[in-house]
Symmetry: C2
Subunit: 411 residues, 2 copies
C-alpha cells in the first residue's frame, strides 16, 4: 500500500522509558520543571542521540533546542516536529516528552532509510511550555514567534529568584558544542504530537486525533490584602482576614461560571495563604484563575466579570486583579489537517477531527509556517498527574504519521 519506511516502536518505547527515569517521582510520574537539573539532563540525552547520528544541535536565545538533519537545499526552511521536555510539578511521563520522542523516532526512521530530503528536517524542543516554575507558560515558543519579548522573558524569576537567563546559560554550558539558532526563523511546516489530555479519542476508540484548533484562555492573578492578626486575641469584628475574603471570591467565581453544557473550564490552581501560621489570621492571599472556552465571545464576556465579582466580595480587605495572559482561540490550516488525516488513514489508524481544550506550543509556531497537531489517547483523560498514561502502540502510531508527513513535505 505504501513504500514509506516503518518506524521502530521498540526503539521509541525504549527512549520513552529512558526519559521516564529523568526526574522520576516515587509515584511513577515526572517532576521535571523547566531547565531544572532533570530537564537539562533530558536535553543532554537528546543532544547525545542527535550527535550519534551526526546531526546538528542548535540553541536559540530563549533556550529552545533543535536537532537538525540537513537537507539537500540549504536555502529551504526546515520541516519540523516536536514538543517540550519540561513538566508540571509531580506530573505525568507523556505530556510533552512523547511529542519530542515521536519526532525523534520519525527522523531516525528517515535517516535509517537513507532518504535524502530537500528541506532540513528537525526535532524542536520548546523551552518552558508548562510554566509552573517561570511564568508565562509556552515561553519558548511564544518568544521564538515574537509574541513575547526576549529581554522580559530572560528576566522572569522562579520562586527562588533564579532567572530564566541564568537557566538558559546553564543549558548552554551543558551543551558547549551546540550551534546558534536565530529566533523567528520560519518553518516550511511544523507538526506537534501530544497526548489528548481528554477522553474523546478513548471514548470513540480512535488512535489519532487530527487537531482542528485550540480553545482560547484568559489567566488572572488576584491578590487580596487584609491584615495579619493573632488568632486567639483578635475578635471577628476587628479582623481583616484575607483568607475569608479570598475563599468567598473563589466560591462566587465558581458559581458564576457554572454552565449547563460543562464547556467552560474555570480553575483556581494556585492559592497561597500568607503568612501561613496556624495561629495567625492571614493578611494576604494570592491566587490564579485559568479560564478557557472554545468561543472567543463567551471567553471575552465571562472573563470581564472576574474583576467585579472579586471587588464585590472584598469586604474590609483590598483586592487587585491582573490579567497576565490572554490567548484567543485559533485554527490550524486545512492543508495540514488534511495531510495528517490522509497519512493516518493510509496507515489504517482509526482517526477523527478533534478540538484542543489545552494550549500547546504549536499555537505560537503556527505564526511562522503551516502548523498542525496530532493527538493520541491518554488513559481516562488523566494528565498533569503522576497517573498519566499512554500505550506503546498509540505512541508508535503518532510517530509513524509524523514520519510519513515529514517525508511528504521535506523530500
Amino acid at each position: 500500500m505504501t513504500n514509506l519506511p516503518e518506524i521502530d516502536a521498540n526503539r521509541l518505547w525504549a527512549r520513552q522509558t529512558e526519559m521516564d527515569g529523568i526526574g522520576a517521582t516515587p509515584g511513577g510520574g515526572i517532576h521535571r520543571l523547566a531547565l531544572g537539573e532533570a530537564d537539562i539532563e533530558a536535553h543532554r540525552r537528546l543532544n547525545d542521540w542527535a550527535r550519534a547520528r551526526g546531526w546538528g544541535v542548535l540553541l536559540d536565545d530563549i533556550g529552545n533546542m533543535f536537532l537538525r538533519r540537513e537537507g539537500a537545499d540549504p536555502s529551504l526552511p526546515p520541516v519540523s516536529s516536536g514538543s517540550h521536555t519540561d513538566s508540571q510539578p509531580m506530573a505525568g511521563r507523556f505530556d510533552g516528552m512523547f511529542g519530542v520522542l515521536a519526532a525523534l523516532e520519525a527522523l531516525e526512521t528517515i535517516d535509517d532509510a537513507g532518504i535524502e530530503t530537500r528541506h532540513p528536517i528537525e526535532v524542536a524542543i520548546w523551552n518552558n511550555e508548562e510554566g509552573p516554575r517561570f511564568t508565562p507558560a509556552c515561553m519558548g515558543s511564544a518568544t521564538y514567534a515574537g509574541v513575547q519579548a526576549l529581554e522580559k522573558m530572560l528576566a522572569a524569576e522562579d520562586p527562588d529568584g533564579v532567572t530564566m537567563g541564568q537557566c538558559v546559560a546553564d543549558l548552554r554550558a551543558a551543551l558547549p558544542d551546540a550551534g546558534r539558532r536565530e529566533l523567528g526563523e520560519p518553518f516550511a511546516a511544523f507538526i506537534e504530537a501530544h497526548i489528548e489530555q481528554g477522553i474523546t479519542l478513548e471514548g470513540y476508540g480512535n488512535v489519532i486525533g487530527v487537531v482542528t484548533g485550540m480553545q482560547g484562555y484568559r489567566r488572572f492573578r488576584v491578590e487580596v490584602t487584609g491584615q495579619d492578626a493573632h488568632s486567639g486575641t483578635t475578635p471577628r469584628s476587628r479582623r481583616r482576614d484575607a483568607f475569608v475574603a479570598a475563599t468567598q471570591m473563589a466560591e462566587a467565581l465558581r458559581q458564576a461560571f457554572l454552565d449547563e453544557t460543562d464547556t467552560m473550564r474555570f480553575t483556581i490552581g494556585r492559592f497561597e495563604v500568607l503568612p501561613g501560621g496556624i495561629s495567625v489570621v492571614p493578611g494576604r492571599v494570592v491566587f490564579t484563575i485559568d479560564m478557557r472556552h472554545p468561543s472567543s465571545e463567551t471567553l471575552a464576556a465571562e472573563g470581564d466579570r472576574v474583576v467585579g465579582i472579586c471587588k464585590d466580595l472584598k469586604g474590609d480587605c483590598e483586592v487587585s486583579v491582573t490579567e497576565f495572559i490572554t490567548s484567543a482561540s485559533m485554527e490550524f490550516p486545512e492543508e495540514m489537517r488534511a495531510r495528517i488525516e490522509a497519512a493516518a488513514t493510509a496507515r489504517g489508524f482509526p482517526n477523527q477531527r478533534i478540538y484542543s481544550a489545552a494550549s500547546h506550543d504549536a499555537r505560537h509556531i503556527s505564526r511562522l509556517g503551516p502548523a498542525g497537531m496530532i493527538f493520541i489517547p491518554c488513559w481516562e483523560g488523566i494528565s498533569h498527574n503522576e497517573a498519566e498514561s499512554a500505550t506503546k502502540e498509540d505512541c508508535a502510531a503518532a510517530a509513524q504519521v509524523i514520519a510519513d508527513v515529514l517525508i511528504e513535505l521535506a523530500v
Copy 2:
C-alpha cells in the same frame, strides 16, 4: 511609699532595641523562628549579658534556657520570670521578647541594688513558643512541665526536615559553657509578662493587666484529597477538585461558628493547595483550624462539629480530620493575681483584671509552682504582625512590677 529599687527604663529599652535588630524584617518587624540563626543569636546575646553579671546560664534537654542569679539558700527552688525569644513569620518585636527583657531588667535591678535573696532568681527563655517552624507551639514549656514527651518533641521536623533535636544541639554548640538543667524542676513562683495582643487595656486606659486565666483551644488538621487534572481539558463533571471541596468546608465552618457575642475565635491560618500549578486542577489541600473559646463546654461542643461539617462537603473527594492539640481553659492562683495587683497599685500603675485570649508558656509552668501573668497594652491590639507596637513606659511598668514581686517572693 516604697523603698524597693527602681528599674532602669532606658536600659530596658536599649536591650529591646538591640534585640529588634536580630531577625529584623524590612517592614520593621521580626522574623525569628524557633532556634533558627536569628533566634540562636538572641540566646547568645542573653548569655553574654548574664555572664557579664557573673550569673549562671543553664540549658535543658528541650532547649529552654535559664539565666540564674544564685540565692543564699541552695535548697530552695527558684523564683522566675520570662517568656520566649522566637516569633511568628514576619511578626512583631514585642511578642515574647518583651517578657524576657522585662525579667532580665528586674534581675539586673535587684543585682544593682545588691539585694541578697534566699531563693535563686531566674530569667526563663522557653523554646519554640510560637510553633510555625516546629509543631506543637509552647513546645519548650510543655516538655519541661511533662505535658509533652521529650523524645517525640526532639524528633519534630521543620518543613525542610531539620529536627528539633538538631536545633537544640546547635543551641548547645553556640553556648558551650552553659550548665545543665533537669526538666521538671519546680519553681517557687513564675511570672510571665507579655503584650496583651488585644484592645482591652488600651480601651480602659490601663497599663497593667493582672491575668486571671487563659482560654482553651482546639486545633485540627484537615486533609482533602481529590485528583490532579489538566485545567484545559478536564470538564467539571470529571473533576475531583480538592480546592473546591476545601473552600466549601472553610466557608461552611466559618458560618457554623459565627456567634452573636463575637467570643468564638475561629481561624484558618494555613491552607496549602497542591500541586499549585496555574493550569492544574488541585488534587490535594491541607488546612489547619485554630478554635478558641473561654468556655470549655462551648469549645467541646462546637469543636465536635468540625468533622461532620467537613465530611458533609467532601463531594467526590476524600477528607480526613485530625485534632492535633487540645488545651482546656485554666486559671492562675489568686495568691499570684493578688500579689501582682498589689505591686502595680503600690506603684500607681492603673491596672485591671483581664482574661487571656491567647495561650502562653505560663499555662504549662503553672503545673510546677504558683504562676501568674502581667499584660501591657499593645497598639490597637495588633500582634503577629510587623506593625505590633508597645511603649517604653508600659514595658518599664511591667519590669518594675516583676522586680517588686520577685523581691517580695525571693528575699
